[in-house]
Amino acid sequence: MRRFFTIVATAVMIWACSSDGGNDPTDDVVVDPTPDPVSFERGPMLMNWADNIIIPSYEAFSSEMTGLQSAFDSFKSDASEANLVAFRASWLSAYKMWQRVSMFEIGPAETLGLRLNVNIYPAGSDKIDGFITSGSYDLALASNRDAKGFPALDYLINGLGDRDEDILAKFNGTEKENLIAYTGDVIADMVSLSTNVLAEWNSGYRATFVANNGASSTASVDRFINDYVFYYEKFLRAGKMGIPVGAFSENVLPQNVEAYYKADVSNELFLEGIEAVQDFFNGVHYGKNTSGESLASYLDALNTVKDGDDLKKLINDQFDLAKTKVAALEPFRNEIEDNVPPTNMLLAYDEVQRIVPLLKVDMVSAMSVSIDFVDADGD
């Protein structure tokens, strides 16, 4: 009997020692004295992500928003054609920068629902018209997400008329005050959201994010990889290309193209987005040519163990191929509206699609990351 209790006691001790403390950063005092090339440290990768990619990207996005605000202020004081063109250029520039931060929907951005508040399209043009006429609206409501953000601005500065004169006539017409007020509110909402997200990263979330360097479904790396793959599959692949080109419906849906009213920038926005995803994969520092620890170098480290195929190269090759195919296309709206069926865009979409299993199956499986938090037992 005594022996039995000794065994049980030992088991309980082993269990007790080993089942907690995994997320405590102070546990990391044990440093491997001889660094093995095979072991890959997740901490430095998280630091590279936060310090060289995510935060600098948010900073750039935030300053784009400031630029957008001041372009709007000029337009507000004088709704001239030159100011409209400048305002539009600011909008496009900010929209392109948005493509570089949209994938970071974790932490503050997730809490605030940045993506949901800034880029839900197609824009609800009727809803926007109604709000302008009535002058009463609450942009904080979830049901009004399609009446704000970049798509709403797209409608306001590109869609109110066919030619610039028509648009300017509206901004100088009877509804002038309401129109300006609404546009101002939409921009203020975007500015405040982006300022908040950046402030949160700088004031504490960065530390939380980097410290959570373990391996579990709630660790930063696992969670972010899930978000990253999800962004690629749902928002980049399906949202920007698949849905408008009709891959998920019997008919094409050209009105679902991103920046529908501007009409000629959808593939530019897409290419910026896929470039950002590839840069992130390779750990390329924002705005620089240097790079650091990344998913790619993680795969390299794992590959030395497995003697397997060079997954990093396969993924980069497929990114390159997809980009080449998309770059050769006309603007998406033209592709969809002018060709029945839009064969070239569908073919390009297939190449964009081929990246999904590479990321979701091969990469995720090599890293032993569980795709989405599945909290059931395995055996």
Binding site: Q353, S365, M367
Partner: protein, 455 residues
């Protein structure tokens, strides 16, 4: 032969080990149910999903909406009754049916460990586990026996032995032994395990775990059977299962196995344990020590009960070999993979994109799986052919009801197995709407491009 029969089947032995087993089994099952409920898994796994994957032939077993909780309540209550040994027969039959019903509701949640519980509770229906130290025995002295035939305890040992030994046999393959797969993928990702973490990326550790695991599974039933090696074997059981618990998300299974292996110990151990319990709960244990034995029919006369149990074990021994009747690599096709004690053997994941084609108009579109499946269901579906087929059939029905005519379902799928690069899994030219589930080989699975040698 007669000596063997009398020693292991008919000979009266102490009922205490079986009574202890009954109590611990009931308690563990109650804890499992409570744990499952407290994590919100009933809601998440059985109420929220719109679609459930059925076992072939059990399509009629479905969750009952909000009343699904009721099944879990019944299951939990019957576990308490089993532990107490109160109305034992009714309790264990109820437990078996309610637990098995739960497991049959959606095969997405299939686990060998749940299957083991179903088998064990089925076996326990035929065992006099309430003969000793139970409320039944206390209330009705006619039901109270201190001794029971040897086969009762031995059948549980045999079932446990089968589980371990077959789990060991399944590991005798080239991926496990000579590539240290899938542990080579799983272990390095557990780098944050205290004490062990820093060693898990070392290749020799991965091989050591693989070989130790296989050796452990194959040897442990025998080490537990012999008195001399038993204490050592039990230490191994505890260490092994605690380790698996720390490294992998396998829930209650390790504890259930640790507790179950106590049945291998001598009855003196179980008497001590019951004495301890009696002291704690102020139960008069000597009430049960009446010296009476359950009388067995004379030699040569097999009772229907024993025939049934013999058949049960024949099925158990043959079941894991049924994969031999299918062509192709078992790990790839998974034909004959379940119900065979193949535990933690593969790192397999997949991606399946379904294309719905209207045959008349030629129009087509892809399905967004998240419209129909939970992330867990999608994950499990994407690398198991029977899931893919069942889902395809469901999509066909769904879209035909939606007004589409003559719908064809094609799947574009890729699967990666044990660190190999993903390859096409299902023939993309086959209309899965036309295929039917059966026990026959699914010839629309693209054959495995590599080879895994071994059992």
């Amino acid at each position: 032969m007669n000596r063997f029969i009398s020693k292991h089947i008919t000979a009266p032995i102490e009922a205490a080990p079986l009574a202890v087993f009954r109590i611990l089994f009931g308690v563990m099952m109650l804890l499992s149910i409570v744990r499952f409920w407290s994590y919100g898994w009933i809601e998440k796994l059985y109420i929220q999903p719109k679609f459930f994957f059925s076992y072939y032939g059990f399509e009629w077993v479905k969750p009952l909406g909000i009343y699904t909780y009721f099944i879990f309540i019944i299951c939990g209550l019957s576990a308490i009754f089993v532990a107490l040994g109160y109305k034992y027969k009714v309790a264990i039959v109820t437990f078996f049916f309610s637990f098995t019903y739960i497991e049959l509701m959606d095969k997405t949640t299939y686990l060998n460990h749940y299957y083991f519980i179903s088998l064990l509770s089925f076996l326990m229906i035929f065992l006099p586990a309430n003969a000793y130290f139970s409320l039944d025995a206390k209330q009705d002295s006619k039901k109270a026996f201190q001794k029971i035939p040897a086969w009762t305890v031995n059948s549980i040992k045999l079932l446990l032995g089968i589980v371990y030994f077959y789990a060991g046999l399944a590991k005798l393959n080239s991926d496990w032994l000579f590539k240290a797969m899938p542990l080579k993928i799983w272990l390095p990702s557990k780098f944050d395990t205290p004490l062990l973490g820093q060693f898990l990326h070392e290749e020799w550790v991965q091989y050591a775990f693989s070989w130790f695991g296989a050796g452990y599974d194959l040897a442990i039933p025998f080490l537990l059977l012999y008195k001399k090696t038993r204490p050592f074997a039990f230490v191994m059981v505890v260490v092994f299962h605690v380790m698996t618990r720390v490294l992998f998300p396998i829930g209650m299974f390790p504890y259930v196995m640790i507790v179950s292996t106590l049945i291998f110990f001598d009855s003196s151990f179980h008497h001590k344990l019951l004495n301890y319990l009696s002291g704690f709960f102020r139960i008069q244990k000597n009430l049960f020590d009446n010296g009476k034995a359950v009388v067995m029919a004379p030699h040569g006369k097999m009772s229907p009960k024993l025939i049934l149990i013999a058949l049960f074990f024949v099925v158990q021994l043959l079941m894991p070999w049924r994969y031999l009747t299918y062509p192709g690599e078992l790990f790839w096709t998974e034909e004959g993979y379940r119900f065979s004690w193949r535990v933690m053997l593969m790192e397999k994941s997949g991606y399946a994109q379904f294309k719905v084609v209207s045959k008349d108009s030629g129009k087509w579109f892809y399905v967004d799986n998240s419209d129909f499946l939970t992330p867990f269901q999608e994950k499990q579906m994407s690398f198991q052919p029977d899931f893919i087929l069942e889902y395809a059939q469901y999509l066909k029905k769904h879209f035909e009801k939606d007004g589409h005519k003559n719908v064809q379902i094609f799947v574009d799928s890729r699967v990666a197995l044990n660190g190999r690069l993903s390859t096409t899994y299902i023939d993309p030219k086959v209309d899965l709407g036309q295929e039917r589930e059966s026990f026959e080989h699914k010839n629309w699975i693209i054959p495995f491009t590599d080879e895994i040698k071994g059992i």
